[in-house]
Amino acid sequence: MNTTDQISSGILGILTTDGLGGFADEAAGIIFLMMLATTLIGGIIAFNARQLIHAVQGLAVCFIGVAAIYYYLNSPFLAMMQMLIYVGAVCITISFAILLAAPEEDKKQGPPSVLSGPFGIITAGMIAFAMVSLALKTEFTIMPKVNMGDMKLIGSKLLTTYSMVFELVSIVLLIAIIGSLVIGRKGRSK
């Protein structure tokens, strides 16, 4: 293991060099496989469930798995944000929309879309195959790390180097809140 790996192994590196040795390594591997399965199963439920409320629950499960994946990618901060924003806020908002609009996938017995059968599966499969083969065949150049990428650095960079983008994102969020209130309110008094 060279120095780059040691710097970038972060949280898990601390865990494994803490005297637990090989056992913590194996446990980390097993938990990672479980979280990988959680993400994929949640994703399958999210795009495949007949009831939309089940699809939202699958989406929440998938996002919990993605949060664990972020943890393995040395970013506990992003993992927490994923749990708060996606699992806590986005999924709940989508369930509110389902409760308010009551969409039923099976309510109308129209002809199913052309793309919902084998054509859609072939399309998605070809996209997945192309991306996977591209990822497996490419040799990526690994640059040496210049810092650890911890939470303190993220905070200081957000308010110095990326302060312009930070402010712009907050304005976008404000406009989105006001816009959704305006759109949602229109026609209520009728």
């Binding site: 996002f63 972020y70 989508i94 399309t123 996209i127 990428g149 994102v169 976008v172 969020l173």
Partner: protein, 108 residues
């Protein structure tokens, strides 16, 4: 390369992101309601974020940049979800349906 050591390889994350992206694309073309399409869009955004974070962890020299970018993706996704859902509710109020076949006369 043992299966328990899988989390130390870039390719694992790239394959996972590709699978999530394909699921999102399939859901996007096969769902018949606006809310279902929104759920699939969230899957696609999650796949993009995983890609950013994977390259950030394994290849990028400065590991803060990818995290900040993924944070901005989250903010934009939250805004998109709020706007999309209020549009869904507005459409439901006018058409009494969120089926995409029913609202086809919205197209210019």
């Amino acid at each position: 390369m043992s299966i328990l050591n899988l989390h130390n390889y870039l390719n694992t994350y790239l394959v996972l992101a590709a699978l999530l992206f394909a699921m999102g694309v399939y859901g996007m073309v096969s769902r018949r309601t606006l809310v279902g399409m929104l759920i699939s869009a969230e899957l696609i955004l999650a796949a993009a974020s995983i890609n950013f974070m994977a390259f950030n962890r394994f290849t990028a020299p400065d590991p803060t940049v990818g995290q900040i970018f993924a944070l901005f993706i989250m903010a934009i996704a939250a805004a998109e979800a709020a706007i999309g859902l209020s549009i869904t509710i507005a459409v439901y109020r006018n058409y009494k349906s969120v089926d995409i076949e029913d609202i086809v006369d919205l197209k210019g």
